[in-house]
Symmetry: C2
Subunit: 244 residues, 2 copies
């Protein structure tokens, strides 16, 4: 499995993805699940993916090929809405191709994938879309400033409790990392290293992907501060519901 | 859906279940998912259920009928292991019966259910089993002192962070309730009222089921103390991973 979370707050975007891929428990490997397409100064597009690795790799490759060979591609369509549409169309094509080749009940394989498409194109604000395996998509808004794909449930409560549209970028990153930490602890199929992007509105280029693993001291400090903080908080709350 | 959690700690058992049942979003209703069978002073058995409501109600009814009509039943088998086996056998029979009646691909209906069987029989310690839809089961131990069924992921991180076998009963109840609260907030298919049991080792009878809803002041105090505590903790932690 995978866990990716993307937040669109007032000041920009925060993206985090894990990198573990597994088929059963034997086939564990590390693959980047955060991809960037850009024309510095004009547009930057981030794509996070969860689901069948063959499908997601194909989709990313095809999107890159389109830039060289198609008239309409991610780097020349006028809006991020159009980019999301392109991604959705490409997902549909790949899934159809693979399902057709197998000419049958897919041998039990799930070819589907979900993608988070975000970024900014000059003249527009930053945007964030969740593209479904069916190719349709929804956009994040002020009421719901974040999307998750993959193993999303473990890390949802902290996002629900803390994040709003007006949360600052650094705080949003901290919250995404805590959400990631809760997931890493509770689910073996999500694993380090993590990829992070903090994108400030208006930058219009890739701010660089930060890689985080067990040797990244600030992340380790955050993990243990949160862990100890939770235990201290738990111990400090009066036993309101004591047995009667 | 449903969310039930059961903890077996050194001093006894803590059980919490929600009561929401839904088929789609239109058919929402409240059903007790925590059942007790007992011979006070000799044995007490708690059964929590998640899954297809027709299946779980049938299983509970059949277990009760067996007490009147069968030679071997939950109130006379020698161990809780045997009770878990009986529950597993009954689950298998009900699922087979319903699948057979439909004589086909179940019309897309999932008849399965999971059950948590716990309690104590005189002469033995308290025990806790998770019985699967296939009828087989596993037992909680010191390393893994809790089981969850239903919508278990939202409320797992707090259990993983806080509970061990040596956690006291009141603290274990508090943790189970926070786990429940995180789930209630993040998933609409889990809803109040909640049923709680705190069972002290050696009691050998039903300590009484406590019902908790929006009017239960101590629970509301716990919810808001936790919620505010989490936000305060989040705000108090230094921004270790600040954008570079």
């Amino acid at each position: 499995m995978t866990y990716c979370v993307a937040l669109k707050v007032r000041d920009g975007l925060v993206l985090t993805s894990d990198s573990r891929t597994n088929a059963g428990v034997d086939h564990i490997a590390s693959f980047r699940k955060l991809h960037v397409l850009e024309i510095p100064g004009e547009r930057v597009i981030f794509i996070q993916s969860a689901g069948n690795l063959a499908t997601t790799q194909s989709v990313i490759s095809l999107l890159q090929h389109q830039i060289k060979s198609s008239e309409r591609h991610a780097l020349n369509v006028p809006t991020l809405f159009d980019v999301a549409e392109l991604v959705g169309k490409t997902i549909r094509e790949v899934i159809q191709r693979d399902s057709y080749q197998n000419q049958g009940p897919n041998q039990g394989v799930d070819f589907s994938c979900n993608m988070l498409v975000s970024g900014q194109i000059k003249g527009d604000e930053p945007r964030l879309y969740h593209v479904y395996p069916q190719g349709n998509f929804i956009e994040a808004c002020e009421d719901t400033p974040y999307f998750q794909i993959g193993e999303s449930k473990y890390g949802k409560p902290i996002l629900d409790r803390v994040v709003t549209f007006s949360t600052g970028l650094d705080k949003a990153l901290q919250c995404a990392l805590i959400s990631m930490d809760s997931t890493l602890r509770s689910n073996l199929s999500v694993g380090m290293p993590l990829d992070l992007i903090t994108y400030e509105e208006g930058l219009l280029e890739n701010p660089g992907i930060r890689r985080v693993d067990e040797t990244t001291e600030p992340f380790m400090k955050l993990r243990s501060a949160w862990s100890e903080g939770i235990r201290a908080l738990f111990d400090s709350i009066p036993l309101y519901m004591k047995g009667e």
